[in-house]
Amino acid sequence: MSAAVDAWEAVIGLEVHVQLRTASKMFSGAATAYGAEANCQANVVDVALPGVLPVVNAEAINKAIRFGLAVGGDISADSVFDRKNYFYPDLPKGYQLSQFAQPIVAGGLVHARRADGSLLQVQLTRAHLEEDAGKSIHDAFAGATGVDYNRAGTPLLEVVTEPVLHSAADAVAYLKALHTLVRWLGICDGNMQEGSFRCDANVSVRPRGSDQLGVRSEVKNVNSFRFVEKAISYEIERHIRLCERGEQPVQETRLYDAARDQTRSMRSKEYAEDYRYFPDPDLPPLRLSEAEIAAQREQLPELPQQRYRRYLEELGLSDYDADLLSTERALSDYYEQVAAAAGDAKLAANWVLGEFSAALNSAQLNVEDSPLDSARLGGLLAKLASKEINGKIAKKVFEAMWRSADSAAEAIDRLGLKKIDDSAALAAMVDQLIAQHPEQWAQLQQGQDKLLQFFIGQAMRATRGQADAGVLQGMIRDRLGQ
């Protein structure tokens, strides 16, 4: 079948609902926190009582602008909230407010990287603001469906790509980059289990080389990267199977069933709803001045792909390290501070991704909750970089600092690990070691260089690691007459 598969090209476009992290809802003052008791975070606006009116949440607008700027999209000076009309119990007004004709962000580019490190640039069509619906709860009441309006009115930014992706792996690479970006910008908590980052995938196939688009199916609401990959792969294979048989896929919405690893039809577009979009007369057009947009531009942090390039090109980090250190904002910011204090970017990268990440992991802590702040770790690494201490001692000091509020100097003092600078004492100890191990010394003199490490090791043990290995080596070589 693989020859046949190669004859087809998949075309994928993604729509991601990014839940904006705001204290209150898109058009009402109710709180947005997840997990409250049902209907306790729904006010008169959210349940659409007669006579209520929407007021736009400025924080949601600002976050959408920051996203638009970060992807290099055009921020519309005029955008409009439209009503998307349909009936469903979790939709209290009987319409959803969404930007249909004039979205707040047009275009834009998301920079992603594939697993092999190659660059994937994904063209966005648009990003628009809308409000979430409530949730229907089908299993709580016998013979009846409950509705929880806590989520109703939660601000969403729907990010829509052009149909430019061609594999499930690329789709996931894009999603991960988008996920990184929205968390990096602080506009979304990225929690996929709680539905803060939800993906719909539009999938079609066409004969390779064709520039026509095939009939697409839409897989709704897949809530993990792994399932997105599986669902898209399944759809691609299903479409190819149909096309191979000479059948036409139908335009429809499908649900991914993770337990069976397959998608099944939810509704066909033959019964497509007419949403009767029209501009919401309760909200004047959203006008954004240059100054308002500029104010958000000033708040933009250095972006992940910018940091990645800088780490690679200016700091000389490995691709792997640069990638890891430019994915999560908190870790990256921590690294920036450590590197600045340590004065050695590579050393800082090794330690932040090594000892520090391991310690966080075993303590099950987030970077933000680390007991060891970046200034203290940076201080420790500065001493290591200047060879004031060696790596082995640094690890001991690190452990002590992790469990205390000590600075590097304080921890070194407290542990009695201060480096032995007294060269006369060291020289005496070296002579004593030579006397204690005549056989090994003879072999070393005969050119068995590996025994150099034996003597250094013995010296380190004797000084509990507080001696400088370089100094010791010099002394031993002196005595060899080298």
């Binding site: 009582l49 007669p50 006579g51 209520v52 009116l53 009987g94 009767r276 909200l283 004047p284």
Partner: protein, 477 residues
Amino acid sequence: MSLPTTVAGQLDALAAGHCQAADLIQAAREQGCRHADLNAWISEVEPTAPAAAENAKLGGIPYAHKDLFCTAGVRTTCGSKMLADFVPPYSATVHERLDRAGAVLMGKANMDEFGMGSSNEHSHFGAVLNPWDRQRVAGGSSGGSAALVAARVVPFATATDTGGSIRQPAAFCGVSGIKPTYGRVSRWGMVAYASSLDQGGVIAQTAEDCALVLQQMAGFDERDSTSLQAPVDDYRQALQQPLRGLRIGVAKCFFGSGVSDPVAVAVNAALAQMEAQGAVLVDIDLSHAELAIAAYYLIAPAEASSNLSRYDGVRYGYRCEQPRDLDDLYRRTRSEGFGAEVRKRILLGTYALSAGYYDAYYLRAQKVRRLIAGDYSRAFEGVDLIAGPTAPTVAFKLGEKLADPLAMYASDVNTVGVNLAGLPAMSIPCGFDQGLPIGLQLIGPALSEARLLAAAHQYQLHTGWHQQRPGTSGVPS
């Protein structure tokens, strides 16, 4: 002792100690009982006289709300079976402001269901009768508000105007009403019919009373994104502005074929009176006026079809018995809960917004709307106000136009353009035909409420039409 029946008169009597708020409340209740047959109330409340408050500009004055202003704890029906038992947990901004001003709510006034009607015959709670002739309609949709003021039950009532719903019933009932500039009075808590056209206002006996009440209702409200930020003028102070030099535009289109001769005669006499007081009459042209009805009856139903989607039987309001499934719940709840006129407009609006018809109907109507607004802007470059008949005829007979919706809609011909353009306008009494009142409409540019009220007040200083009350002879001495 006979108590005054105007807002200004009652405020003076209270200030002079000639009566107490409790006396006014008692009088309102008794007068309401005498006119119970008008069917002007949907709900009456048991008011308590407020403690005399400092700076309470309307302290102790009884009033009625059109029954689409949400009043916390008091049922708000919109004249509909759908909301017949709906008690809102929150209050409209208009209610909060009048409450703060010390006005005393006596009850909720009857209205056409959700504001859809020109005769107040489309109410789940039955038609309101015209106090001047109980065989005739009170006008709509604020028929209850106009009838209560005309019958001297309350000195003022709130009302709303989407296509003439303040001005036309005010004209039919011989009282004064002002529909302010769109955005001048907050729509928060005012149940929507057509959001881009709806505007709250006042019906009272005199322009002066309208000024006193509107002063308390108007002003920016952050809960309404279409609310205007401009400061509110001092309306009462502005009343003293004489008519001298005021340029009043007269448009032929307002005296079209549907306008009865007696109405035209009375309105022309009113214009002559204003001219005699120093106003200057100027002929103007509103070239797209004849398209207003068509545009209005597309835009208003389109918005209504969406605004009324929330009445689905799920969260509050009427729900059908024993729904079989979700579709059945929607279908029967809405078929049973809405009256025929509301269902008709929802269908009309749904059609106008549907794929394939949107451009031809909704978008084209919006284009006409801009043309009409443009006509008014140009006209106001040369005149200060525009005047004409509010309605083409006096109040018609109950049932007369129910079978002919187009004839019913045509009675809005002179009022809907103002809503499409978002302008302020008033109707004041200017004569009688067969013992039935005739209304003079005055239209101003945006935010010219003070000018409108002043012109109406100056006219009323020299005429007595607004002082006529039902039950007395039609023609003043």
